[in-house]
Amino acid sequence: MHFGSFDAERHWRPKDLASLPQLADPAADRLVARMDEALFAAAAPGDLLITREPVSPAQRHALEDAGFGCAHRHAGDRDEAADVEHRILDSTDLTLLVGEFGTLRPYAVLPTTVGLAESAGHAGTVPPVESVARVNGKAWSSRLGARHRLPGAGRVVRSAAELETAVRSDAEEGCSVVLVKDTYGVAGRGTFEVTSQRRLARLVKHLRGQEEEGLRVEFVVQPRYDREADFSSHLRIDPDGSWQLLGVQSLVNAGYRHEVSGPASRALTSTPRSPTHAEAVNTVARELAREGYFGPVCIDSMTLRDGSWVPVLEVNARMSMGSLNLGLDERVREHGLRSHLWQEDAAVADGFTADRFLEALRAEGLLYEGGSTPGVLPLVSGSLAAPRGRLICTALCAPESFDSLRASARSVASSVGVTLVGAT
């Protein structure tokens, strides 16, 4: 049984933490609230998915035709601001329905998830939320990295003064750009690039003001590394602490935001490095289990141009876009295809409907309809709303065909009113 909010970090972040300079973006928040539709990718036939909002019937039919259907209910028509967990909990019918399913597969475990599990008769099937919140903080993974001497681990700072010292230290060692990361920042929100003394002074002043208001400073300071490639390792930890590596995904980020997850080159994990990939994953898994966490895990790593690597950039103790793509990939490999999940921002014209996009893809012979014929499958319809939206699709094809298939899908999207920024 699948459900879950995609803005989990917001729920885990303590209210008394100081924040980096940021601008409110309600449109982006509304968009993220629709992304739970992507959980169709994680559900098998016979599973149940409860989404926060209704899903377009055309979208559901397209998923079913492609072989990704499952039982579906939505928790819409309730308190507009409430997340899906609260909406389910507030509905006797949905809570009873959840109780009928043997296993909960939340996208992430939030405080409400624990209450929901208890109400549905699944107490103890999700880890303690305090553990979940702790291990999802970048401060936790940075301390883990430091403790195990993993290369590239960030430094945790607890005051504006400490931050200033740490950034100056990295700069003096030759780092032209030093990153300051909010411990619960996600998708680029919560990363600050320090590129000059002036910018450092600006940030320190901003944080001192918050310290004077009584807020607590906790950030991670890290050089901006000379990236060669990003990748993510996906594992599942069982309640008894045993774990298994499910797979590795290549990762392309736009800035600091996820853009593409796809098949990973074997060289990413087999190249001899210190520590080895297996050692790093084992270290993180053992530490997570020691903290009482069980469930899905995504470890983000990076290889550098100098041949070294940063084994633990961050740990996401939840599902992720990479894990969703890994699940899709496993289901289409029997057809000789690979899954490439991508997302990108778009300007959406008034009057656009996801149905038109599906029709246009079908008309062009681009819509994936199951089997071994390559195609594109939109994964989220609710994120394509005027005026700002996000296109979230998978291209099911051979890796060498991904770029051309994505370009064709972009062209079709544009023809029906979804203009992708920077698409060429």
Partner: protein
């Protein structure tokens, strides 16, 4: 130099800053003074902060983030007039 000319030069500098932030994503020629930075040019919240920080460097001013939102980034023209214009004028 007339104020109208000065205003245009300021817009050009703002546009130059924006082009740096969006480098590789948007061809500079697409960045017109009236293009919506968020909806048309795809400036996201992280890039918006980078843009504002670079504007501070470029114009030697200090912006008040608490009072700003993505809505202030409607266009180069709007931002220059409504946010930057006052600060530059005050200097």
């Amino acid at each position: 130099m007339s104020s109208a000319t000065q205003f245009t030069q300021t817009e050009a500098r703002v546009r130059g800053v924006l082009a740096e932030v969006l480098a590789g994503k948007i061809p500079p020629e697409q960045i017109t003074v009236d293009a919506d930075m968020v909806q048309e040019l795809g400036l996201d919240s992280l890039q918006a902060i980078q843009f504002l920080l670079r504007v501070e460097d470029e114009f030697d001013v200090e912006l008040d983030y608490e009072t700003l939102s993505l809505d202030h980034l409607r266009s180069v023209r709007y931002f220059t007039a409504e946010v930057l214009g006052r600060l530059v004028g005050e200097k």
